[in-house]
């Protein structure tokens, strides 16, 4: 089959907003999704490993992160909705087909996520109710199971995005996992080395975010903790970040090595070079802040902001690479625009009002926390 014949045609309904608006929200939304997602992807397993440590502060961090995890997941999944919505709007010509090819796996995300999420709750409740920090075996097992499930879900996401960006692979997939032009939805990318090296690269990134979060937690959220704990975070975060960068670097090199000549030219010599370069060297900023701020109590705030920037750069470079790989098959900027002004205004207005309400809620919670500290509760 000719992959060009498999790309869905342009839909006359058109884009409901200009292309730049859609891509902006998609990349912004994805960056916002990345931060919490990195924490459950690499953070859960890190926390479980640190839970085995003999250093009390490391175990403390493990317990803290796992107790925060239910909220991180709730908001992180929620933030995934935004990029998915805009991905479907502007990537429909390839998104649906790619996920249908691996439908069972893609659908499994839902079941696996439910399990992983409840597993985290079991662990977090265990932490809250355990006597002397001793969790029951099954509560511990739930934590480990969740950590592994999150990694498994990530494999599925990587597979889906890899398949989506590579329509050239579809005819063979359809041939092997389909019948009579229909597909069974049983495709997977487990045998695809590109997927694995991209995953390694991405896992390294997720680990850097986890390291940045260690420092953020110590600096901003650990008011009730001991000085030793806060000091430990300042010492451990740069170490973890450095180790994470090794993974990120190796993964990145292997990944870049898997590019075809066209993509390599585009990313390393073409117009994408500035963005690719920024994404590659971006992590130097949080890393520098971490090492320099080892004695600064509030450095963690700047580290997480810098990390957010790194994630944004990563999201932009990734978007460019994806668009480039799809370019031979379709031009995602070519759809007609049929502005939906009223609904767009409704969204923007509710977005701003929503931020206001959120701000109010957060202010009230901070206030309540302060009161609790003052009254020694």
């Amino acid at each position: 089959m000719d992959p060009n014949g498999l790309i869905a045609p342009v839909n006359e309904l058109g884009y409901p907003a200009p292309f730049w608006f859609l891509i902006f929200f998609r990349v912004l939304g994805f960056t916002l999704h990345l931060l919490p997602m990195n924490l459950w992807y690499a953070g859960t397993i890190t926390a479980m490993l640190l839970g085995l440590s003999r250093i009390p502060e490391a175990r403390r961090f493990s317990a803290r992160l796992m107790s925060q995890m239910p909220f991180i997941i709730a908001f992180g999944v929620n933030l995934g909705i935004v990029p998915l919505l805009f991905l479907q709007v502007m990537g429909y010509r390839v998104f649906y087909s790619a996920t249908i090819l691996m439908a069972w796996q893609w659908l499994a995300v839902i079941a696996l996520l439910c399990l992983a999420y409840y597993g985290v709750y079991i662990y977090a409740v265990g932490l809250r109710t355990a006597k002397q920090g001793q969790l029951k075996a099954w509560q511990r097992a739930s934590g480990w199971a969740s950590a592994l499930l999150f990694i498994l879900i990530a494999v599925i996401f990587h597979s889906a995005m890899s398949t989506m960006a590579d329509p050239g692979s579809w005819p063979a997939i359809a041939e092997q996992t389909g019948r009579a032009a229909a597909v069974y939805g049983t495709a997977h990318s487990l045998a695809d080395p590109h997927m694995w090296v991209r995953m390694l690269f991405f896992f390294g990134l997720a680990l850097t975010t986890t390291a940045a979060y260690v420092s953020f937690d110590g600096a901003m959220l650990a008011g009730h903790e001991t000085d030793d704990y806060r000091k430990w975070t300042r010492g451990f975060a740069p170490q973890l970040y450095t180790a994470a960068l090794v993974v990120y670097g190796i993964g990145g090199l292997l990944y870049a090595n898997s590019w075809d000549a066209g993509l390599r030219d585009y990313m390393t010599a073409g117009s994408a070079l500035p963005f690719a370069a920024l994404a590659a060297i971006g992590p130097a900023i949080p890393l520098g802040l971490l090492w320099l701020g080892r004695n600064a109590a509030k450095a963690g705030l700047w580290v997480i902001i810098a990390q957010f920037l790194v994630l944004g750069l990563h999201a932009i470079a990734r978007q460019l690479a994806q668009n480039f790989r799809l370019a031979p098959y379709l031009d995602i900027a070519a759809d007609p625009v049929k502005m939906q002004v009223g609904p767009l205004v409704m969204f923007l207005v509710s977005f701003v009002l929503g931020l206001g309400v959120l701000g109010w809620i957060i202010a009230k919670l901070v206030q309540a926390n302060r009161k609790a500290v003052v009254s020694g509760q």
Binding site: M1, L6, L13, P16, P343, L358
Partner: protein, 481 residues
């Protein structure tokens, strides 16, 4: 259709939508009604300084968070996942049309989450007024998200003026919007009380308190069942004629509809006689039965809502087999395969001699050439047509609405006529959207799977013509007279 068809043996892919959606609505309505329950009751308990009730409410809030924030939210995402897989054309159509409705809904989800967490985790840390305010913010955001999604699901049953104007608001405020908001709000009230009964009957040890909860929650439940019944009736009155006919015509739906109304009335009566007038009925058994009633009524309602749309997924716009209604004439003129992405690419690869690709990427299929293929190849192409034209609603050999069993003993002529006029055979089937040659090819496939009359029947065996029958029975028309 522009996307590959996901072939799910036995079940058919759209049945997975029904499965996940049913599971989800049972929790999502509680996510709305339960929020209202917590806001109202916490405020009430504060006013009366009722520490016992407050302690119970806090316990309930935990149950609420665990069920709605995890299971409710993830299965909601699950619906989105599965419609994209099993009904991609309609999903894309809806998303392109209502993307900002969904984006707005997302804003309210975020508020729900934040307020919900604040309400539970800061219990006792927030001053009472702020605490109750969090409850109300949650409840309001949850109800608004119900309203937003209802605009879109109601659109699927009746898009109102949208087809002429393509205007978001015309689509959103469609004729079915208010009735469905009313019915869903009712379901939210009703289900919330059922969940409260369920949870309290197991968790509340204090008998007096249990009676108190029983009585208080009976009121929103009765209000809820009244809203469900009146919203349902209103919904019915405004149904498009075809849906009314589907409702009356299909035995299953008909019966379900009656069951649903009866259940609602029974629930109302039970609530009135029991918990409202004579608190003391509430026990785990009673609560489970009640929750079962509530869930059954809601699930049935959802099933009916889905079923009456046939042959459409989006009324008058997208047909049940992922064909845009406006494209039917074109497909009949030029051919189904020619107008359908994956099948045409498949045909071009399998039988390149039959397909001419033009410089602009469009294709022409040589239909006479297709008919001239050996039987094996025709049957295979017929299967392609079946997958993309019929498999949305029919499994092949066994399973949901399985084709094979429907065709038992049919003659070729009957099958051919059904293929050409499915909408006349059962008006809730989409019309034939291909050429005559393609109809022939699909008929080849169906005849290949069609079973003979079962053995041992009077008319068993291969006896189609009158003379066959006469030969078998052993007498003629005259003798029979």
């Amino acid at each position: 259709m522009s996307y590959p068809w996901w072939h799910v043996p036995f079940l058919t892919a759209p049945m997975l939508i029904a499965l996940i959606a049913t599971v989800h609505v049972l929790v999502s309505h509680y996510a709305v009604g339960g929020g209202l329950f917590l806001a109202v009751e916490t405020s009430h308990a504060y006013k009366h300084n009722d520490e016992g009730y407050l302690a119970y409410l806090k316990q309930h809030a935990w149950f609420f968070v665990l069920l709605t924030v995890v299971f409710g939210a993830i299965t909601g995402v699950g619906i989105w996942w599965i419609i994209g897989l099993a009904s991609p054309l309609a999903t894309h159509f809806l998303i392109q049309t209502f993307v900002f409705g969904w984006a707005t809904e997302w804003v309210f989800f975020v508020i729900e989450l934040a307020a919900g967490f604040a309400f539970y985790y800061f219990w006792g840390k927030l001053d009472r007024r702020t605490h109750v305010a969090m409850g109300w913010i949650y409840a309001a955001a949850a109800w608004i998200s119900l309203v937003l999604i209802t605009g879109i699901t109601a659109f699927m049953l009746d898009p109102g003026q949208w087809p002429e104007t393509h205007n978001f608001w015309h689509g959103f405020f469609n004729p079915q919007f208010l009735p469905q908001v009313l019915a869903r709000t009712g379901a939210a009230f009703l289900l919330a009380s059922m969940y409260v009964y369920f949870h309290a009957s197991f968790k509340c040890q204090d008998t007096d308190l249990l009676r108190y909860i029983e009585r208080r929650s009976s009121r929103p439940a009765m209000l809820g069942s009244a809203l469900v019944a009146s919203g349902g009736l209103w919904w019915y009155l405004l149904l498009p004629a075809s849906s009314k006919a589907a409702l009356q015509g299909a035995a299953v739906i008909n019966v379900l509809m009656v069951i649903m109304f009866t259940l609602t009335i029974v629930v109302f009566a039970l609530l009135y006689i029991g918990p409202y007038r004579n608190p003391g009925w509430l026990s785990p058994g009673f609560a489970i039965m009640f929750l079962g009633f509530g869930l059954a009524a809601t699930a049935t309602g959802e099933y009916i809502r889905e079923a009456v749309r046939k042959p459409y997924i989006v009324y008058n716009l997208v047909l049940g087999n992922q064909v845009l209604a406006e494209k039917v004439p074109l497909l009949r003129e030029n051919g189904f395969i020619e107008g359908t992405r994956w099948p045409s690419a498949w045909l071009a690869a399998r039988h390149p001699q039959l397909v001419t690709t033009h410089p602009d990427g469009s294709l022409t299929v040589d239909e006479q050439g297709m008919l001239a293929l050996p039987k094996y190849d025709r049957v295979e192409i017929g299967e392609v047509l079946f997958m993309y034209h019929c498999n949305d609603c029919h499994a092949e050999r066994s399973g949901v609405n399985a084709m094979e069993h429907l065709l038992t003993g049919w003659s070729r002529e009957m099958v051919a006529t059904s293929v050409r006029h499915p909408e006349k055979l059962k008006y809730f089937m989409p019309p034939w959207s291909g050429t005559d040659a393609e109809a022939e090819i699909l008929t080849d496939y169906l005849m290949d799977m069609r079973p003979e009359m079962p053995e041992g029947m009077f008319f068993g065996g291969r006896h189609d013509s009158l003379s066959d029958v006469q030969a078998m029975i052993g007498n003629t028309v005259e003798e029979a007279r």
